[in-house]
Structures are given as C-alpha cells and as structure tokens.
C-alpha cells in the first residue's frame, strides 16, 4: 500500500508537470502577446512591462523561471489587477469554491447512495419509476441550466410565499450555500444514483447475499454489512471524475449565483484574458484534480481489501 501510494504520488507530480508545461505552451503560442490588449502604449512602456513580466527573456528561460516559480508555489501577479498576486486570489477565493464543492459532492454522494439503494429495493415499483425518470432528466440537463432554473424557481418561490425562503444569490451564511450546492450536486447525484442502482441490483442477487440470508441474519444487518458496503465500491471509483465535474460545474453555478469563488474568478479572468491568472488557476485546478483522483483511489483501497492488500 505504501509503495502504491508513493508510485501514485510520483505519477501525480509528473502529470502536474505535464499540465503546467501544456499550459505554458498553450499560453505562449497565442498569437501576439498579452500586452497587445492595451493598445495605446509607447514602445518604452511596453519594454518596461515586458521586463516586469519577464517577457523579454528567451522562451526557454521563461519556461525555466515559470517552472521554478510553480515549484515554489508562486503563480505571479495578475495582469488585470496589477497589485494582486495570483496566490492571494487563489487563497482568498478557493476556500469558497471548496466549501461549495464539498457540500455539493456530499449531497450528490449521499443522495446517490440513498436513492440508488431505494430504487433497487423497489425495483420496477413506483419509487423506482419516479426516481429513475428524474435521474434520466438529471443526467440530460446541463449544470448551468440547473443553476439558472434553480435560481428562477427560487425567485418565484420567494415571491409566491412573500418571504425569503433561501437567498437567491450571494455568499456568506449557510442559507446562501444550500441552493447553489444542491443545484451543483444534482447532475452528479443523478449519475451516482444510476450507478448505485445497478450496482445494488447486481449485489442483492449475488451469491454472497444469498449466503448471508441462508445464515438467517436480520435484514438490516444484511443490508448494511453485505449489500451496502459492496454496492458503494463502484460509486467510490467514480468519485474522482465526479469531483472534476463538480469543480467545472462550480464555475457556472458561482457565476449564476454571484458567489465570489475561484471558479467565477477564473471565468472572469478568461473573459478578460488575464493570462497569469488563467495559467495559475489552470495549473492549480489541474494539480488539485490530479491529487483528488489519487486521494479517491487510495480511499478505495481502504474500503476494498482486495486493493489494499495487493
């Protein structure tokens, strides 16, 4: 297990290096240069700016400096807001995105497991038919549509009851977090429900559940110790990709709900072509996702002895 962990971590570092290099190459093959946006600048100012951002150096040297800065965890200074360091932006805005993401993934995971088990239990009966219909809808609706319609529904609800049930936008209190994280988690929850259902159906008719029944165990014990734990395994394996989906889904949910998270900041930076912020956040998000996948894989090892002990 320790060797496996080390191996995975090394692979992860190489992947992050690959992401950083790909980002660097992508950003440096953009025709023209970042300073072209400010049209009326004199040659002198231009030179100064280039020097300030290190754009006058040969590309290999720039790459070297860039990598060294990445290793030190320094992502540079924003082009658009010259007095802000990208590190500060990430430090300030990422925790908000992280809270939103954690709530969404918790909601998606718990909901998916619960509804998946429920639909499998009532296979082809009313709860199953209703939930599976919603699940198919949930898989087919993009996250930004959920976000927009969710907000619209909230506005109408608040207007209908004449009181503010939940805030429509913004961030700060727990009540601000509920609607966006629900909306963000819905698509993933639908996906996980479907997965959990088929996994559960496979397991309730498995030989070892039959064995457990032949031992005369009470139904709750069979459900918890024999069915649920084994049925959750495939759900855990897709948590990595789910985290990626929720992270990118967070971009639009933060946009729609006016949440000051890193995702919204990233989208704004993209729209303003704020190169250092784009590079910094891309590498940061890339590294984050790569290591989340590793964490999920290691977590899987803890649950499944077959992986842990090999």
């Amino acid at each position: 297990m320790i060797r496996y962990t080390i191996k995975r971590l090394i692979q992860g570092v190489i992947t992050v290096w690959f992401i950083a290099t790909a980002t660097f190459m992508a950003m440096h093959s953009v025709p023209g240069d970042p300073l072209m946006n400010d049209k009326a600048i004199s040659e002198e100012i231009r030179k100064n700016l280039e020097a300030q951002y290190g754009l006058d150096k040969p590309i290999i040297e720039q790459y070297g400096i860039y990598l060294w800065n990445m290793v030190r965890g320094d992502f540079g200074i924003s082009f658009a807001q010259e007095n802000r360091r990208v590190n500060d932006i990430i430090r300030e805005h990422f925790p908000i995105s992280a809270i939103l993401g954690i709530l969404a993934i918790a909601f998606a995971g718990l909901g998916g497991i619960l509804f998946g088990a429920l639909t499998a239990r009532y296979r082809n009966q009313m709860p199953d038919i209703v939930i599976m219909f919603l699940v198919i809808l949930g898989i087919s609706v993009p996250s930004f549509v959920f976000a927009a319609l969710g907000q619209l529904a909230l506005v109408k609800l608040n207007a209908f009851f004449g009181i503010s049930i939940l805030p429509v936008a913004g961030w700060g209190t727990l009540s601000h977090m509920i609607a966006p994280s629900l909306v963000l988690g819905l698509g993933t929850m639908a996906f996980l429900t479907r997965l959990m259902r088929s996994s559960m159906l496979e397991i309730v008719s498995s030989d070892y559940v039959r064995t457990a029944r032949s031992k005369g165990l009470p139904p709750t014990r069979i459900f918890l110790r024999h069915e649920l734990r084994n049925a959750i395994l495939p759900v855990v394996t897709v948590l990595g990709p789910s985290i990626a989906a929720i992270t990118t889904g967070g971009f639009v949910v933060e946009l729609v709900f006016a949440i000051p998270g890193l995702g919204r900041y990233f989208v704004q930076a993209v729209q303003q072509l704020d190169y250092t912020v784009i590079m910094g956040t891309t590498v940061f998000y890339g590294a984050f996702l790569v290591f989340m996948v590793i964490v999920v894989d290691l977590l899987y090892g803890l649950i499944d002895p077959r992986v842990r002990l090999e």
Partner: protein, 462 residues
Amino acid sequence: MNATLSFAPVVAERDVEVISRPSLSYWKDAWIRLKANRRALTSLYIIIALGLFTVVGPLLPFVPSSSTQDLDQISSPPGADRTATIVAPYAPWSGVTVNVPAGDGPLEAPASVSLAGEATTQAVRIFWDPVPGAHGYRVYRNIAHPAPDDALGMPLADVLVASRVSFEDRLDIKPQDYFYSVVPLDRNGREAPVYATVDVSAVRVVTAEEAVRRGLADSAADLAIGDEVRLALHLLGTDYLGRDMLSRLMHGARVSLFIGIVAPFLFILVGILYGSAAGFVGGRVDQVLMRFADFVVALPFLLFMILFRILFKIEGGDSGIAPMLIAMVILSWPAAARLVRGQILQIREEGYVSASRLLGAKTPYLVLRHMIPNTMGVILVTITFAVPSAIFTEAFLSFIGMGVAPPTPSWGSMCNEGLKTMLTHPHELIFPALFISITVLAFNLLGDGLRDALDARMRSQE
C-alpha cells in the same frame, strides 16, 4: 381412470429437440433488439426529428430569418398578443395644472393617481391629486407592484413645478403592465417617504404610416383609426433583440448538433488509428504511446478546452466552431484510443481468431472478418455516448462566453443570453435549455438501447 389407460407403446416420432428460433446475423439481431426497446426507438425518432428541424426547418414559410430583428416584439413570449391598433400620429399633451393648496407639516401621498386617456405604447399619461405643500413630484415606473418592499423601479422624471400634477411617459413603452408611482418632493427636492401608485396596462398601437413602413399593411389609405393590424408571427417568441426564437433555435441546432456529432466522429477516428497502431505494433512503442495517452487523459478537460479556445483567437466574423472542434479532438481522443487498443488486444487472444488463423486466414481477412465487426459495436456505443457529452461541452463553453462567437447562435450561447433576461422573460432561457436537454436525453437513451442491443456483455441492469 384405469378404464381409459392404454399401455400400448408409442412408436411415432416424438419431437425431442426443436430449435424454435432461426439463426440471425449479429446486426440483424441487434436491430430486432433495438426495435423492441421502446425508449431507444422513440429517442431515435426524436433525433431524426431534430435533424429535420435543423435542415428543413429554416425553409418553412412561417420561419423568419434568424438575424432579422422585430423591434415591435422584443423579448415577447410565445403566444403573446400580436395585435396593434392604428392610432393617429402623436400629438403633444398640455398636461394638467392646478392651483396648489398651501400646506405645512409632513407631505402626504397624493390622494390618487389616474390615467389620462388610454395607455398606449405611444404614450402613457398620468395625473394625480395635488399634495398640499409639495414643491414638485418624482415619477417612478416599475414592471412589478412596488408593494412588498417599496420597490418603485426606475425614476422617470422630476416634475419641479408645484402646480403641474401630470406626467407623460414616452420612454420605450412595451405592451405590458406598468406601475407608476408618484412621490411628492419638499422644497429642497427631497423625497417624502410616501407614494401613490397607479396600475397601467399599455396597449400596442401603431400609426397608419408606420404600419405601412413596417410591412404590416399595404397602404395607409386602407387603415382607419381604431383598426387592428397583426404583427409578424413568432411561434416561440423573440429574444432580447427581437429575433425569432424558433429560427434561432433551428440555426443554433446546426452548431450544437454539428459539434455534437462531428467532434465524436473525429476524435474516435483519431482514437481508432492511434489505438489500433498501438495495439498492432505492441511492445515498447505501445508502452510509449499509451503512456502519452494517459497524460492527455489526465489533463483537466474543460480547463484545457478554455485554454485552447483562447489559443485560437477568433477573428471578427468567425463562428468559433472550428477551434472548438480541434480542441475537442486534441483532448478527447485518448479514451477512444485506449478502448480500441484494449479491444484489439482482447480479440487477438480470442479462440475464434486463433481458430481462423489455424485455418490459414491472413491478417487482412482477420481484421475485416473479426476485428472490425467485433469492435464496431463498442465503438458505435461509445460514439452515441460521446455525442451528449460533446453537446454539453459546447453548451458549457458557449454559456461562459468561450464557445461560439455571436451573432452565430448555438443553444449554449442562447442560454447564456437568456440568463440575463431570465427573471422577466424566462422563455429565452427555457427553450434552448429544453432543446439541449431533449437532445442529450435522446442520445443517452439511444446509447443505452444500442448498448443493450449490440453487446449482451455490456447489458445494463435496467
């Protein structure tokens, strides 16, 4: 019972083994299974209908061009009233002037606010009871009732003559309900904390001359005041620039479906070439190729889509479709490559391939007879499931403004535009969202059906 028993031996042939089903080819069998799946078949029809919608739709007589703006009907929902009444050309209004009763103490709200004449899109004229002591009035306009939280809306004007108790609004009036609120002002021009509101329903009107100019009638001579003319029909309403939603949805479908279908075909093609190269050559080359594919897979997909989109700067007039296609192919091929390689390695070891080889089959025959037919099913299913995710990607990028460049419509960019007017005109968001969802739903269900039909091993539990 014994009386009826006969112990004579049965000599006649008895059918002990009956094969009741004729043998079927793989594709024929798959087609029969797909036809039996109602959901998949319905989805197939929906997809065909969407294709027709995109290709034939814009040719239909009642579908206007997607870029024409109908300034009379901006953000009008489907089924909105299209009648306009012919009125005389605008004539100025002298307004209402009264003697102002003197007064001191706190200002009160006007006793009433009333409408003068009929409220039309030409002008809305209101007057109110004078407030003793008021030195002027400020008039607000809102599209919702101000009641719950005193939201008066947009300040239209200050009437700073104390004796004037009327106001004429000619500012971009739409045929809808408005709430005008009047707030008295003190001598310093400060608002009193009171107001009175009148609820006004503006009627769409047009002058005869204008009706002819806009093509609503043939000649002004045929039109009398009070006659009704009908504005152009927009089945699904119009967007915030007065463009026909149905037509834009049809043109948007071209972009969304084009990307959604072409991108998977392209990256799966690349994947097949790459994967089969790796699978056939094997050894070190295979190792290196697949390692590289692993790294590309590890790239965060949407982040790099955005990066690539920045990389391919879109010049004015470009739609941005090509860059999106290229970026999707660059980032998506490895999954298909892995799949194809895995399939090839697996099939190569199958008994029937060895058997065929023992019987003297050459490699081209093996590829044609065994490799391709046996991987086609998996590849077809992969393409079907790749379509919805490509549509999602396009929509997502267009939604955050990183996809198709305006004015080219795509469902995603229409959602993006619809988001801005979501609260007042939800149809501008709901229609494109609905189309994305139905399309994705149809492809997902078709994919499920195909998987069940083509590959018994992959059969889902549903």
